[in-house]
């Protein structure tokens, strides 16, 4: 059950007259605690993001960092690890003085996440920073651990009364995956919301921190020309693709338990679907934006067991070629169990049963070892009602197609029909292209820089609300369950190809998958 949906994130405050015109708004004084402080995510993403915020002068006036992890080590040793991680993974070369200023008083608390003593020590360190500052500091607990520890850590934070703090805001940031099934997601929500209130909880979907995803909102709601067409009367179908040319690499342990559906569709791709299909929010506040996204998820019918074969396809790649090299198939990848039935490719046909979208198919597909890396949304418009032009010698008048490319070359292209120069009226499709990279001077910040700042500021717009997570799972859970009970072997596709032929059966007559 959704808990606390629609509540305001924070109490309104009197305005600060000095913030007008500033591009960087102040972030309240905060101590950030990273659980799983020595893990891969912390090393590769979180610490470099913190450094880059520090470099830009974008951290709070008062900022402290505490790492919590199982391994025993001294504060100094952890600081050295932080420095090494930042030097290895920062998007810019670190400035030694900034690095020293950032890491100078970083603390480390060793211990297992279920040990109450860890939280007692953590509480002491948090208090010490406040005494030093002479004021209460906001507290943000970042759960960058294996998902199994989320309820353990949240429970311990509650037990040790670190979930609230007099005079300051306490927030918990939870990494994905938020559950591996609807039941788990609900259970996790229940446990988290027994300790924290929904406005304190920031569920990360790092896709939402990408400039490209935020640009979709600007594209739809800052440009009047698309809105009149953005409905079932003019749009024939929507295709969302997140293709990767790489295999699973060294992630077999995680990936074989998750699969493509859980890894990308349940969270990122359903977020993209929501951005395409949502109604314009009344305002761009966290609650209004998320209310509109939840309405979309509620409008997607949950498939019955009998419907799944007709609306979902899964597959595994076999040996093939990628980047001019021979590559192995999924089942031959290091660490993949023999006979695994985990999908490395998933495609779905969904509908959004509301006034705007009824009858328009939304095709979603994702997979590893496909022909190339691309994430895009293709919106195909209905064909013109009458063809006045001869089709002889022509590629023909094809429906207009609007393609929003999220990566690698972020941009928008519109397929139009144009006359081929000559004496006859022969039409062929041409593309009108806009590339974001050609039109802006600034470099996009890493998604985690934006998300960490937003969490510390208490802005939940780019985070997933409890009912949103559950809404996503309600769509994916029946498919996960059906696939778990279906025997293998799975359909296959050659590595480096366009995906399995079986995916075609999801398409309406006349529809085609776009070439990857």
């Amino acid at each position: 059950m959704a808990v606390s949906a629609g509540r305001a994130t924070e109490e309104p405050q009197a305005e600060n007259p000095l913030t007008a015109g500033l591009e960087r708004l102040p972030v309240p004084p905060t101590t950030l605690v990273i659980f799983g402080a020595t893990g891969d995510l912390a090393r590769r993403k979180l610490l470099p993001a913190l450094y880059n915020l520090a470099h830009d002068g974008a951290l709070p006036e008062r900022f402290h960092l505490i790492g919590v992890s199982r391994k025993e080590k001294a504060h100094e040793a952890y600081r050295a690890e932080c420095e090494e991680a930042i030097r290895s993974f920062s998007r810019r070369k670190p400035d030694d003085d900034v690095l020293a200023a950032l890491l100078g008083d970083v603390k480390y608390v060793p211990g297992t996440f279920d040990d109450a003593h860890v939280y007692a020590v953590l509480g002491e360190e948090l208090d010490r920073f406040e005494q030093q500052a002479g004021e209460p500091l906001n507290r943000a607990f970042y759960l960058s651990t294996a998902p199994g520890f989320f309820p353990v850590i949240v429970g311990q934070l509650g037990e040790s009364e670190l979930n609230h703090h007099e005079g300051s805001q306490v927030r918990v940031i939870i990494e994905k995956p938020f559950g591996t099934s609807l039941e788990e997601a609900r259970e996790l929500n229940r446990k988290v919301l027994a300790i924290f209130e929904e406005p304190q909880v920031f569920r990360i979907d790092h896709y939402l921190g990408k400039e490209t995803v935020q640009n979709m909102m600007a594209f739809r709601f800052a440009n009047g020309m698309f809105e009149p067409l953005w409905n079932r009367n003019y749009i024939d179908s929507v295709q969302i693709t997140a293709a990767e040319d790489i295999g699973i690499g060294s992630r077999a342990d995680y990936y074989d338990k998750a699969g493509a559906l859980r890894d990308l569709i349940q969270n990122h791709m359903l977020q993209l679907l929501c951005h395409v299909a949502m109604e314009p929010p009344v305002s761009f506040t966290a609650e209004e934006v998320r209310n509109e996204k939840v309405k979309v998820l509620q409008a997607v019918p949950h498939p019955s067991a009998a419907q799944i074969a007709g609306m979902a396809v899964r597959a595994q790649y076999t040996a093939g070629h990628a980047g001019g090299e021979d590559v192995v198939g999924y089942l031959e990848e290091d660490g993949v169990p023999e006979g695994s039935n985990t999908e490395a490719y998933a495609a779905l046909r969904l509908g959004v049963d509301n006034w705007r979208w009824a009858g328009v198919p939304f095709y979603l597909r994702t997979g590893k070892r496909l022909a190339r890396k691309v994430t895009e949304i293709a919106v195909t418009l209905k064909p013109v009602p009458h063809l006045a032009f001869s089709q002889d010698g022509s590629l023909g008048v094809q429906p207009n197609q609007l393609v929003l490319t999220l990566q690698p070359n972020e941009g928008v292209s519109l397929r139009l029909g144009a006359k081929i120069p000559g004496t006859r009226m022969i039409i062929r499709p041409v593309n009108m292209e806009f590339l974001y990279g050609t039109a802006f001077l600034s470099q996009s910040p890493e998604a985690y820089e934006r998300l960490i700042t937003d969490a510390m500021r208490g802005d939940a717009t780019l985070f997933t609300r409890n009912d949103e997570v559950e809404g996503q799972w309600m769509i994916c859970d029946p498919i996960v369950k059906a696939w778990e009970h279906e025997p293998g072997p799975l359909p296959t596709y050659e590595a480096g190809s366009q995906g399995p032929a079986e995916a075609d059966r999801l398409l309406r007559p006349g529809d085609h998958w776009r070439a990857i």
Binding site: Q13, P17, L18, L22, G57, L59, F63, V98, N409
Partner: protein, 353 residues
């Protein structure tokens, strides 16, 4: 640093020929590899003394990704009679498979006194239509700025370049009536404004903004204008009525009338500061809170004395942008609009009246 460059040059040429060369080079580059695409963000016209073109080129090279997508350098040499030009189209990196590489265009036109009357007709064909245009004349030449103003949506200037603060502020004010002004002196104060805003952002402290009673700013000897703009910003945001500043040795002092009390103002030159900008900003409230921010290694050093006398000192991390960073920020700001500059400028001018 560009890794791939196409060059064209000609002596005794015309704007039409230069424009045709630009088009030709772009087509060539695209044919060579269709991953090369021209950036289309901003035109920048720099009117510079020819003898200093190397120095200006070095400064612009340092702005990195903030380089204008088309840079038109008008290199002026009074006695030159022939129009010479050079066109360079450069990519910062080779395109990776499946990715794009942006092309940036630089056009250098060498001209003399005899071309000044027709300057608009030389520059106009060489900027990309429908892109915003930023005009910069780092070596003075105010009359040339006037001449080229119809082409520009914004003007880049550095008020600390003017020897007289009053004249600098008056000139910025006059230009701002007709075009958007990006003032590097204002941008040098941005980190300080951000930090002062953040210091007083916690709700209990916001109310203390109304009780500010003293503001001291120490600045590079040539950066009086930057200090005045910072105080002008506080005055305009907090509804102070600033009075005139009076010179006392190396300092300027004065007062501003806030709703509840007088605010004492002091601007003092800091000869030890080696780079343009501010060295130290100190604010005191009538309640006895004192906040000092000063330049330090790895960021601003903050020192706060609470009303009860407790003192805290720490570093707020942040990298120095350096002069090239400030210039790059100036170019980027041509695409934005800061509504607080003009009120700050007006308040700063009031302190000189």
């Amino acid at each position: 640093m560009s890794v791939s460059e196409a060059v064209w040059s000609a002596q005794g040429t015309t704007p039409d020929a230069i424009e045709a060369a630009l088009r030709g080079l772009l087509i060539e580059r695209h044919a060579e590899n269709d991953s090369y695409v021209p950036a289309r963000v901003l035109n920048m016209i720099a009117f510079v003394d020819r003898e200093w073109t190397g120095e200006i080129a070095n400064r612009l090279r340092g702005v990195g990704r903030y380089h204008a997508s088309r840079l038109l350098v008008l290199a002026y040499e009074p006695r030159r009679v022939r129009l010479d030009a050079r066109v360079m189209i450069a990519a910062e990196n080779e395109p990776a498979p499946g990715e794009l590489a942006l092309l940036r265009e630089t056009v250098v036109v060498e001209l003399g006194d005899r071309h000044l009357d027709d300057l608009l007709t030389i520059a106009d064909p060489l900027v990309v239509t429908d892109l915003p245009t930023l005009l910069w004349s780092p070596h003075g030449h105010h009359e040339i700025v006037e001449h080229l103003l119809p082409l520009a949506q914004s003007v880049l200037l550095d008020s600390v370049d003017e020897p007289d603060a009053g004249e600098a502020l008056a000139r910025a004010g006059t230009l701002a009536e007709r075009v958007y002004v990006v003032d590097l002196a204002w941008l040098r104060s941005t980190p300080w404004r951000e930090r002062v805003a953040a210091t007083f952002d916690p709700p209990p402290l916001r109310t203390e903004l109304g009780t500010l009673s003293q503001v001291d700013v120490r600045h590079h000897p040539e950066s009086t204008v930057a200090a005045m703009l910072l105080i002008g910003w506080l005055a305009s945001r907090l509804d102070w009525q600033p009075g005139p500043l009076i010179a006392h040795g190396a300092a300027l002092t004065g007062t501003a009338r806030a709703s509840r009390q007088e605010v004492n103002l002091r601007l003092e030159s800091a000869p030890e500061l080696m780079v343009r900008g501010l060295e130290d900003v100190t604010l005191e409230t009538a309640k006895g809170r004192r906040v000092q921010l000063r330049r330090g290694r790895g960021g601003l050093r903050a020192r706060v004395r609470e009303p009860r006398g407790h003192e805290h000192e720490w570093t707020i991390p942040g990298a120095s942008r350096g002069e090239t960073g400030v210039l790059g920020e100036g170019i980027r700001q041509a695409l934005l609009r800061d509504p607080t500059y003009l009120p700050a400028l007006a308040a700063a001018r009031a302190m000189l009246s």
